[in-house]
């Protein structure tokens, strides 16, 4: 994003991701997540660019929350905002945690590396009957020294996916504290579109996966997605 004249370079975008096991009833957790998303729609949240919840395809206890902010400062300001604090207070009266974070980078801070939105990406929430497709999500740790090669490999896979049909969007982020850790998500209209894209990208995927020392890849339902392209335009 180009900076305003004389304002210095724009701060880097800032991503947050939490991978968790839901402990409470999924319906209760879902209501909380939608209430959180509603806060992000407010006019006093200009730095929120997209907010995503993924749910396990056959495992309703598996949940991933990803979001990208204009900067880390925007994210931190939201964290201490009256609206969020009020919601947090309200929910703290319920017994026990809502979920357990999974893995050493959850919750984690991430730098967005690239984003491709190929088709009109459906937004909304399953609770409202919206059909948002599914997503292939990965958390990948690469061998030291392979970080640049991995980003190139990711782009190759993205190019192959882009040439396939029914792919909505692809995003890739790098952990801010563990430079060998990457997380990525590829949205598809349906399982058939995802399978077709994976078949088309098979060789590129093998090269990408070959750089990993460890990774977790799984399919998820896109349960909620909100995007604010107009905020990005205002920020640039």
């Amino acid at each position: 994003m180009p900076a305003s004249p004389g304002a210095g370079p724009a701060p880097p975008l800032f991503g947050v991701q939490g991978i968790s096991r839901v402990l409470r009833e999924p319906e209760e957790v879902g209501r909380h997540e939608r209430a959180y998303d509603a806060l992000l729609h407010r006019d006093d949240c200009p730095g929120m660019f997209w907010n995503l919840y993924l749910k396990g395809l056959d495992d309703p206890q598996s949940s991933i929350h990803m979001q990208v902010w204009a900067s880390q400062r925007h994210s931190e300001e939201f964290g201490v905002s009256p609206g969020f604090q009020a919601m947090r207070q309200e929910l703290s009266t319920a017994p026990g945690p809502r979920g357990l974070m999974v893995g050493p980078l959850s919750p984690g801070y991430w730098r967005p590396l690239y984003e491709q939105v190929l088709e009109a990406e459906p937004t909304g929430c399953e609770l409202d009957g919206d059909e948002l497709g599914l997503a292939l999500h990965g958390l990948t740790f690469v061998r030291p020294g392979s970080e640049h090669a991995y980003v190139d490999a990711e782009r190759e896979v993205a190019a192959a996916f882009a040439a396939s049909g029914g792919i909505y969007a692809m995003r890739c982020l790098q952990n801010l504290g563990h430079p060998g850790a990457f997380t990525w998500v590829r949205h598809a209209r349906d399982p058939e579109a995802l399978d077709a894209a994976l078949a088309r990208a098979r060789e590129a995927e093998e090269r990408r996966a070959g750089l990993a020392s460890e990774e977790t890849v799984a399919r998820y339902r896109v349960w909620l997605l909100s995007t604010w392209p107009e905020r990005r335009g205002a920020a640039s």
Binding site: R88, L105, S106, P107, G108, Y109, W110, L176, G177, A181
Partner: protein, 108 residues
């Protein structure tokens, strides 16, 4: 030199309290024999992980402090902000130096 590094995991939402507790502890450490300085490192890749480095002139000076009641008194306000017990790892320092207050060449 000898370094004691405490890995800490913060209770969510307690960042201000945790960092304040470390500042207060630093003030108390300055009068400890053998204490050479400390840094609180916050993991850049996530909100809850910290490492607190304590630098000592020797292992003996560290152990005298660690085995005294002063260590427990120092840790108590910090531990109150942690979601789990801290873990301690000890290091000898074979190579050190290069710290600068400003970039090479005197730039600001």
């Amino acid at each position: 030199m000898f370094v004691a590094a405490a890995e800490e995991r913060m209770i969510p939402g307690h960042r201000i309290e945790l960092e304040a507790a470390h500042r207060e502890a630093l003030g108390r450490l300055e009068s400890e024999p053998g204490f050479r300085g400390s840094r609180l490192l916050h993991f850049a890749g996530g909100p809850y992980r910290y490492i607190w480095e304590l630098n000592w002139g020797s292992r003996e000076e560290w152990e005298e402090f660690f085995e005294s009641e002063r260590f427990a008194e120092l840790r108590a306000p910090i531990d109150a902000e942690l979601s789990e017990p801290f873990s301690l790892t000890l290091y000898n320092v074979p190579v050190a130096g290069g710290w600068r207050a400003s970039p090479p060449g005197g730039g600001g």
